[in-house]
Symmetry: C2
């Protein structure tokens, strides 16, 4: 074989294809060569090319269609990965000391919006928990959470003054699907008091709901102290 380059691992094939896209040798919308052709040109296995192209498609640079072949994405949708650790590890990862205070834990039936979120009925047996997570002794995040006792009966025996519901659930009630949303809200009077800030401060809000199969496990509202920024690489 007379190839100018020999790219034996998928990362180098990935980078070579990305280079061609970036230099517009391959333009948005262009069909790119077949995997076998690329494998021959680059002097590597077809499986190596396949792995590289899958990665580039996952990153949004290529559109792969079973029949129409692979094209350079015309409107690359960039994908960012968000890592969502338990809040204790997020705080410790910043080099700060984590503490945690349980504010309320009560068994009761859920309000309508929680029924809608989790797909449970209004007479469901739920645990309603509010707690404050602190970093170096300062309020970091105020959590209000509903947990289905039917879905995770063991939680009623957990000592939630010692381990946060967030961490307990991660360890004992893995979920199969969930959704998460991010928005900006004004601090309510209660939130302002708990987070030791002013009423009407802009706060970053994360809402999460998780299921195990079709069974709703938990729905949480996480309000962060002023100045919180969520950050990731593109």
């Amino acid at each position: 074989m007379s190839t100018t380059t020999e790219l034996t691992n998928w990362q180098s094939v990935h980078d070579e294809v990305l280079r061609r896209i970036h230099t517009r040798e391959w333009k948005p919308g262009d069909q790119i060569p077949k995997e076998v052709e690329l494998a021959e040109e680059l002097g590597c296995a077809r499986a190596t090319v396949n792995r590289a192209l899958r990665e580039l498609a996952a990153e949004g640079f290529l559109d792969r269609r079973r029949k129409a072949g692979t094209r350079v994405a015309t409107h690359p949708v960039r994908r960012a990965r968000l890592d969502i650790p338990v809040i204790r590890l997020e705080i410790e990862g910043r080099g700060q000391k984590y503490t945690y205070g349980l504010l309320l834990s009560e068994r009761r039936s859920p309000p309508p919006e929680i029924c809608a979120n989790l797909g449970v009925t209004s007479d469901s047996d739920m645990l309603h928990i509010t707690s404050l997570h602190l970093a170096d002794g300062k309020p970091y995040m105020f959590e209000e959470r509903w947990v289905s006792v039917a879905a995770t009966p063991e939680i009623v025996d957990a000592d939630l003054s010692k381990i946060s519901a967030n961490e307990w659930l991660v360890l004992h009630a893995p979920y199969t699907k969930g959704d998460i949303s991010f928005s900006a809200v004004l601090a309510s009077e209660n939130e302002a008091k708990i987070l030791r800030t002013q009423k009407n401060e802009p706060l970053f809000l994360i809402e999460r709901t998780t299921w195990e199969g079709e069974k709703g496990i938990t729905s949480a509202r996480l309000v962060f102290a002023p100045g919180y920024r969520m950050h990731t690489a593109l």
Copy 2:
């Protein structure tokens, strides 16, 4: 071979491993069997097991260490994928009509925070652009952006009253790395006026900076109208 199940594709191996983690047959911190052993047990190729375990590691369920083997993650970091389309497609994807107004386009040297963001000097040739993106005629997002003319000289010939800098850059200046952050801010007087809202409304802010190699391309501040929610699956 006497196997009870025959899992021939990686997705079913993935689901079987996840089932064992969820039922705590394999507990957090446990070392899981070797790939060859799993392949034999499940009646599939080792490559199939490898693909499934890589996926589960990417999803945060497994920790894979070259020497220490593969363990069930003790603190699973859940990873969410954020799709970041150009703003026109985000609005059209909601079934709304997209319009766009260029408010300002001027060539000037950048302020200190932009120099720091992009790693450019204060005498750099930059394009400073502000624009408003509308959905069904209502303000959706106010964009303030700095673009390095040295990194993307062609942008000075683009008609940014017809195509947004956001979309032009996606098509003409692909980037190799970037970062993105999300926070909550109060609307300034100017932002409130442009977004046709009240001063001191809580607004969702996205800040993005992108590079091609070590060359800073653009730094943008995107402020969304009240009520904006960013949403993704877990």
